[in-house]
């Protein structure tokens, strides 16, 4: 059994991680920390865990975390980077579900996240944890940067086209819709039921932090320069991301469907739907799956890709468990064999 710790177990990403880890056949959940809830029984805060998890939140100390084989950080941006060097030094592997290690360029990171990076020397070592593109690197990594939710859905949608060199990468558009859990469990007026339900709105159309992360990830696989327009929207539901992607083909393509099916034929968590499908976010609710459909251009050469994930699973906690499995030499799908809850 692998000994695992979770730092910051009180947010939505945290509780989803706990849900997956308590049922994981190879994991012992040894320590879950929370500065604010220290000493409180975890199942008091999250009654869904009653009967499944009997420990208390503890204070986050390196000494205690160092007894684990692997530690997840489900903390706000800027927290993990303060403890990661010490944990790595003690031989603990780390997966950060926040953004601290997602951007290679420390200056670019600071620009978007508004703080100095605490350990820029680790940025090169950190592996961007999208298993579909970096499985081998993840398997041998000490430190994995778990991708953001939007970046996961958008990259998995665009990459087969970009890798094949079929699109003009300078004019990509990603129109993305997220459930409200993406905003976290912090008390904020904008995420109240009475504000966010029965309404739809774009936000940060002037620039969102996931923009440089997506661009970086696409650029890694593109010979031409990537130019992206990215508009996220707040959608009145709890879970789910729907990415609608628009890309101009730079040549005639015979069979887009086959291209996608081929690209993901060996992937356990990417499901290319039949041609003409419209994946629903609820078809992945609670599951670590990304479902993708491709649609031929309606006009000129603009191909349309639809990509859905559960932002808390494939977009966060599930992908983190997938990365843990890879890093610890377990079956990649261990503990992730969930069927989406429908209806």
């Amino acid at each position: 059994m692998i000994q695992v710790g979770v730092v910051g177990g009180t947010g939505y990403t945290g509780v989803e991680l706990l849900r997956l880890l308590v049922l994981h056949p190879e994991v012992e959940l040894k320590v879950v920390t929370s500065r604010s809830e220290s000493g409180r029984k975890i199942s008091d805060l999250y009654p869904n865990l009653r009967g499944h998890l009997d420990i208390e939140f503890s204070d986050p100390t390196v000494a205690e975390l160092a007894t684990c084989d692997l530690v997840f950080f489900a903390t706000p941006n800027g927290v993990a980077m303060k403890s990661v060097p010490e944990l790595l030094a003690r031989g603990v592997k780390v997966i950060d579900l926040a953004a601290d290690f997602r951007i290679e360029d420390a200056a670019l990171w600071s620009e978007w996240y508004g703080m100095e990076h605490a350990c820029p020397e680790l940025l090169e070592e950190a592996v961007y944890g999208l298993p579909e593109t970096s499985r081998d690197k993840i398997a041998s990594a000490r430190l994995v940067a778990n991708p953001g939710c939007y970046p996961t859905a958008v990259q998995l949608g665009f990459l087969p086209l970009i890798k094949a060199g079929l699109v003009n990468t300078e004019n990509l558009i990603a129109d993305t819709k997220s459930g409200v859990s993406g905003a976290g469990r912090g008390a904020s007026v904008g995420a109240l039921l009475c504000e966010a339900s029965e309404s739809m709105m774009a936000y940060k159309a002037g620039g969102h932090r996931h923009h440089p992360e997506i661009s970086q990830g696409l650029q890694w696989f593109s010979e031409s320069k990537v130019g992206l327009t990215f508009v996220p929207h707040l959608t009145p539901m709890i879970r789910g991301i729907h990415a609608t992607l628009y890309a101009p083909l730079n040549q005639d393509v015979d069979d887009l469907q086959a291209l996608f099916e081929d690209a993901y034929k060996d992937e356990p968590f990417v499901d290319v739907m039949p041609a003409g499908s419209h994946p629903e976010t609820r078809s992945v609710k609670g599951a670590n799956t990304c479902r993708i459909a491709v649609h031929k251009p309606q006009n000129a050469n603009t191909v349309i890709i639809l990509s859905v994930i559960d932002n808390l699973v494939k977009g966060a906690a599930g992908q983190a468990v997938q990365n843990m499995n890879l890093m610890m030499g377990l079956e990649e799908t261990a503990g992730l064999n969930q069927v989406a809850l429908l209806p």
Copy 2:
């Protein structure tokens, strides 16, 4: 007082029309027809009208409708065209809230709507009822084709740029999100709460009937050819359309904000929000307003326009009342002075 009739008062467009008409200071609601509910008290079906409307649904007969000054058709596509010629002949003005008279080209209409047009000779006379572009024609029309919900939000968003010749019209993208009431009140599995709530999905990415309507409306004001990619999405809420529009600028533009403000400065029902705004659909819930915000390109030259309406009001019944006011020489805003219900 104007004598008014409504054909097909049982759907969502119908009941919204009734809500607006019973409170309209210049209107007497004389006859509301429904083949299926004939003889039933309207307020039995729609308890919100108890105390406001005391009449029964009646059978739709030309004789009875001919006693009205103006008749609204809130019927499925293909119904209005069968009765309109006779009503016009008897001197009754008509507003069709369905699609029968929206497309000038009868062959194109047949292609998308799957039936022969019953009175193609009226297509030229029919006026497309978007007051912001056709106020004068509407005022003198006998027959008005009330625009579709998506077409209203999309055209009002794109038109200032197109009229000014500032965008490459061949590569327009409209990513639109609609509440479930757009699917109507018919019993269908896809519109059940358990199917449509807590989920997001695109639909008809291969082609939607509003595509030719939008293209036609944009082309009227464009010197270059209009090419549009249009992807509608089903959003888990009752009312509201959010159109996110992407257009490539063909030149540097100093002040997009001023362009939009100027375009709509005299419009009572189009509200250009301050620069950088993100309009919420709930800010127009129950109101006849379209709120628009413009965002500068993030990447290259792709301008982003956000446009929201209530699909049942500015996207259907409210716009129909606005058209009625114009056709009957009333104050354009009569009966439409609603404040959106928020929260």
Copy 3:
């Protein structure tokens, strides 16, 4: 035109009051105060008011409020009582939408609201503003305590039976369900969309502040002692209260339906539905109506009454406007002729 002020216009009760007042034909909205938002345009905070209300939030000062004929307090409990004596002294009439003047007994009030009353000498003068029971007193009042949302729905449901002496008042049960807007616009974890949607829960089953208010209101009209069990529930919707009331009949009753119809036959805002009806909260969404249905006992002698209101309208702002109309000698229904927004 009556000059009106609103203290605390930033909460949900406040914005609903503004919605009703800007459209009221006899009212000029002169001052809207908010300590936290002072100087900000009201329509910046509430875009639904753009084009309807052009003033800014101002600081709450007695001097400015004293220029009004009537002032509404849409503030947290304990705020109004600090300013009311001075406003009354300056000849301003006051309606408090909070609880400061609802309970006659100052000690009982302190017990439930956890503070000393600032002006207990006004408790006797204050009129409990349920027009259906106290129309004449309200008309001559200087100070009206606007009833709570649950108390409105529950009292209107029970009172016809209690006044007629038909029920054993010692064993009344009120099982009530409220939309989340009842929790207000303050940022709290429990009212987040991700916490409160897709779930149902009781709260304060050990005792809720509306308990003594309801008991007091029922006792006023009962010869026997009133004993009430009151369990409120948080329901995943924005607006609406559904009260399901259970009362043991103390005798055979021929025609409960007629009793209720007769009790409310002259009331403009209480609608007794046909026998066997099940009123939906959405049938009063945005309207100042209470709809009631009575059901015969299924078992023994327990009569069931269903009573629905919009908690923000008949349960708060709408009833306050109704009270204002009475206090200022206007038509009782002025500005309240709303049709519920359905769907």
Copy 4:
């Protein structure tokens, strides 16, 4: 591995059963029938099962079903009873998730379900499948009647008090709230998102089919006559039942909390919450758990019990799997170790 069949796999109860069975370690899902969808791949209808279940719907024939060890009927009322005798005769065990075998008295059944019973001779043999009361009988049964959703939540809440003889059983009240999935997947206007969301309503206050089932189940354990008032409500959410139960104590009781904790201390799927708790339905979403809290009387002697389940799991498919485990000699909790999906 046990060979299992599901008749009627297209409804919500059916798909939930499939979700549980495909992950059950001891079950092979051999045949899933649907008259209307015969020949269609199951995962076409339910994309959440893509990758988990590769078979097609087949026509329901006894010959094919007879190859199974156990068959579940997830069909409308009145369907199972037509095939059950033949299946039993062939040695197949049966669990009916509908109501055909829930009521001992065939005449009473006919009265509520509006049809003659096809095999009244089996009513005595059939075991009512509430494991918490009938574990041993279920273990040896050939035919189990899976309880209704409301009856499960209500009986588990009332029974500890009734068994202890502590309440006046003639005046029980069950005010219950159900998510919309309880209405099934059939297309009906009342279950549309636009009708059922953002609203709350009671239904069948004049009498609901679960009334005789609950009364029968409570009467089995009561020495005095059971009299019940039962009012169900439609709640704007997908899953969940919240039962709020009111019972008059017939004596002083020292420790209600201990009574409940003791009653359920060995039950794997009943969780008695700490005193003063308010269980949320979301705390059991997707899980086979019933969470219960007891509250002391506020007034006189009326004790309040709060009981929540997921109507599709402990209220249907999960309980059916629990019954299957018992009937087939498996671990009772096999395949049911789910953590509720929260948020």
